[in-house]
Amino acid sequence: MEEKELLQKQKRFIRNFAIQSAMLLILAGAAVIIFDPFFHFHKPIGSLKAVVTKAEYQCIGTVRNFDYDSILLGSSVAENYNNRWFDEAFGTTTIKGIKSSAATVDLIYYLNEAFGAKKDTGIKEVYYSMDLFALSADAERVFPDDSLPLYLYNENPIDDVNYIWNKDVIFEHIPYLFAMTYLDDYDEGASYNWAQYKIFSKEETLSHYSRPKEVLPMLSEEDYKQNIDANISLIEEVVKAHPETTFRFIYPPYSMLWWDAAYRNGETEQNLYAAEQAAERLLTYENAELYYFQNDENLITDLDHYMDTVHFSDEINYFIVEQMKEGNYKLTEENYVRELEKMGELAEKIETEYIRKYFEE
């Protein structure tokens, strides 16, 4: 090949390569922007369903871009609520702001994002699954952190390339969105639901419980007070800032094994303090309601409701919503001290009676 001819071919190669690459990249990017399986750019288009199964990737998009007037916040124990149960009970349109192992900071982030996204219409109801663990978590932690796909969280359009040119999104998540919409009976209210894949039984629960060998001394108030108070302040700030919104706080019912582990790790007093302080401070707001399910003796001592120490079946989630609708299990300024005392007594009873059925001292 003559040098001139070769150079011409190489120039044509550069041009063709550039044009073809650009076209393929535009095609790939357009598919992601249009179908948007993580709802980063918009809510579901056309007849596509809101298929929501990956909280870390999809939660922020749903909070920012969906049509809703209420939000359910919580950790994995809240994932099995069906949004429609709340809608039917309280006349709302609800989405979830969920994060596994969520600290208070994480949930407040989603909550503030929701208030920002709905600044024109406002938020009608906030259903807040208040984990005691989250109340003891670091109140100054940074969220979102770089363990998450930050390109979906930040406002930088340039790093969206991580999303629009993403093989997994194109080959997995777009087809999954279509399959769940047209080939499966996907329930949009059951976002993030995992209960369908798990077994709830006493045997299963016990198999997941690794009981602490030693009983540690009870932590003193100064060990946990500062963190818990700071976390409650974070919640309180939002409740105070949005008097037009009703906040319904749910204390989820952990199994007696969870309370046993808390006792053996010296954390019973810490958990009772967190629950009590939250009640004492939040009950002072007219727009806050608290529902306390943790001292339901029949419920938390029946391990057939659980798959491990904390995660209960979706039947319990449904039960909780039904009871809230009826106004049961509600804490008031008059009864909260007594209800928490009952929890303290139950925690003792677990150690002296219930747990002995399964473990010898």
Partner: protein
């Protein structure tokens, strides 16, 4: 910054290329070099800005050495300067790379309790230290001139070869920076560079990173491996390492060509080698060249008898092992290669000279012998790499115990499962719903396919052969575009968050 990243491909590289060629076009040659230097520093500092001071200090110290040598005369002085230069460069490398390793061994040997510093290893320090060491030695021997500062800084920091080699010599790169004819955009060179880059990126992103999933699983669960899965893991790592490193080097060569700069090849089909000695003429060639030129030959090479040859060879390979990482696993890997090369030097080298002529080599028996030799060499290299990848010597030996346990526990299916590729997600998802019992077999087919593709690529032409003998057809452009876009799409993924507790 990595070559295989969005920011590099779509921002850094285009800006740097445009800036370089524009400044040269308006004949601001020094400004172009300064621009390239600044961009290279950005490339380097993108990982961690604190690295900048280390590379800059290292460059300036060596440049000062070079300057002092213009003022000093006499062989003894120059020899002294060479020693000081080596001590300073190796001292910097030793401090950052081997300080903790040294103390750990002292602690273990003497039950001492020296506290470790946990120093963050500056990226590419092994490469730029050796690059500058070769320059200092050559300067002291009178084989290198004192260059202008910008030429020298461009030589050390030129970003394509900065963090993972190849280890380029001053005599290869600086004359190219000084050649004004090379400052113009050249479509031929750019086309070649593009092809090099795309093929390299495909090797790295599509093959190496897929194989890495199997390897990471295997080496993360050594105790659970059986003979089959251990053999598979070792094979997968051997392929992964080659595609990872040679892919990265292809990208480096390609980027160099985009600038009309020739960067030397680092690999030449190493797994086609018929002996361990030949393997080292084809694997990480610029490192081999460094050790041969600056360690092996000064020690006497093979000129002082068989025993000295073996001692010199072992010294080189133990050092080479240590260069790869501050862990006894690397030293032992180097030792195994030293043994292999020594055996080759002592026995096979002479036999080859006596008996293997061209005709015999091409005869049927010669061909079978050649393939046998390739196979045996590959197995040896593959097994030695087990120590290269293991976190500790204990892990390495455990891996071998599992490899030769002659047990079967089905762990190969777990490895296959770890290599999930989203390209066939629809198939695997459908199977998991309709015929989950077939899923394991499909995963096995997938990893077998990846291995077969890898072997196919190994057996075909090298990247240089593909690029240099190319007809630059429209079909080739389309294949390159598809490979490029597929690789770009593979730069980002969706992780599974495994925690599921409260």
């Amino acid at each position: 910054m990595l070559f295989n990243s969005y920011i590099f491909i779509f921002l850094f590289l285009p800006i740097t290329l445009v800036g370089w060629f524009l400044l040269n076009r308006i004949e601001k040659y020094k400004a172009a070099q300064a621009f390239l230097f600044v961009m290279s520093l950005w490339f380097y500092a993108y990982f961690d800005i604190s690295y900048l001071s280390i590379i800059l200090v290292s460059c300036l110290i060596n440049y000062l050495f070079s300057f002092l040598l213009t003022r000093l005369e006499g062989a003894a002085v120059k020899k002294g300067m060479m020693i000081v230069g080596c001590v300073v460069n190796l001292g910097i490398l030793g401090y950052f790379k081997y300080y903790d390793f040294f103390l750990e061994n002292l602690n273990a040997l003497f039950s001492a309790d020296f506290s470790l510093k946990h120093i963050l290893l500056p990226l590419g320090i092994s490469f730029f230290t050796f690059q500058q060491l070769s320059f200092v030695i050559d300067r002291c021997k009178g084989k290198a001139p004192h260059y202008e500062l910008l030429d020298y800084l461009n030589f050390v920091t030129f970003f394509p070869q900065l963090i993972a080699g190849p280890i380029v010599l001053h005599s290869e790169l600086i004359p190219q920076f000084q050649d004004r004819k090379k400052r113009k955009f050249n479509a031929g060179s750019f086309a070649q560079g593009t092809a090099f880059f795309v093929i390299g990126m495909g090797k790295k992103v599509l093959l190496a990173d897929t194989l890495a999933k199997a390897v990471n699983y295997g080496f993360g669960e050594i105790a659970g491996l059986d003979s089959l899965s251990a053999a598979f893991t070792a094979l997968a790592f051997t392929l992964e390492l080659y595609f990872d490193f040679s892919g990265y080097c292809d990208m480096a060569v390609g980027i160099g060509k985009m600038f009309q700069m020739e960067i030397p090849d680092n690999f030449n089909s190493p797994y086609k080698s018929t002996s361990v000695k030949e393997f080292w003429r084809r694997w990480h060639m610029t490192l081999g060249r460094f050790f041969t030129t600056y360690v092996y030959i000064p020690l006497g090479g093979s000129r002082k008898g068989k025993l000295r040859t073996v001692i010199n060879t072992m010294a080189v390979f133990l050092l080479s092992g240590l260069w790869h990482g501050a862990n006894w696993t690397f030293v032992f890997w180097g030792f195994l290669h030293g043994v292999g090369v020594s055996i080759n030097s002592l026995f096979l080298g002479t036999k080859k000279k006596k008996n293997l002529n061209e005709t015999e080599n091409q005869s049927k028996a010669g061909l079978i012998g050649r393939h046998m030799a390739q196979f045996v060499t590959f197995i040896y290299v593959c097994l030695a790499f087990v120590f290269f990848r293991s976190d500790s010597m204990a892990d390495g030996f455990l891996f071998f115990r599992r490899l030769f346990s002659f047990e079967y526990n089905g762990s190969i299916f777990a490895i296959a499962d770890a290599v999930s590729v989203s390209e066939i997600y629809i198939i695997t998802k459908a199977l998991s719903m309709k015929a989950p019992q077939l899923l394991g077999m499909v995963n096995m087919v997938v990893i077998s396919f990846v291995i077969l593709v890898s072997i196919f690529v190994l057996c075909k032409k090298t990247t240089r052969e593909i690029v240099q003998n190319n007809s630059w057809s429209n079909g080739f452009a389309l294949r390159m575009a598809v490979l490029f876009v597929w690789s770009v799409l593979s730069l980002s993924g969706v992780s599974t968050f495994l925690y599921f507790n409260f």
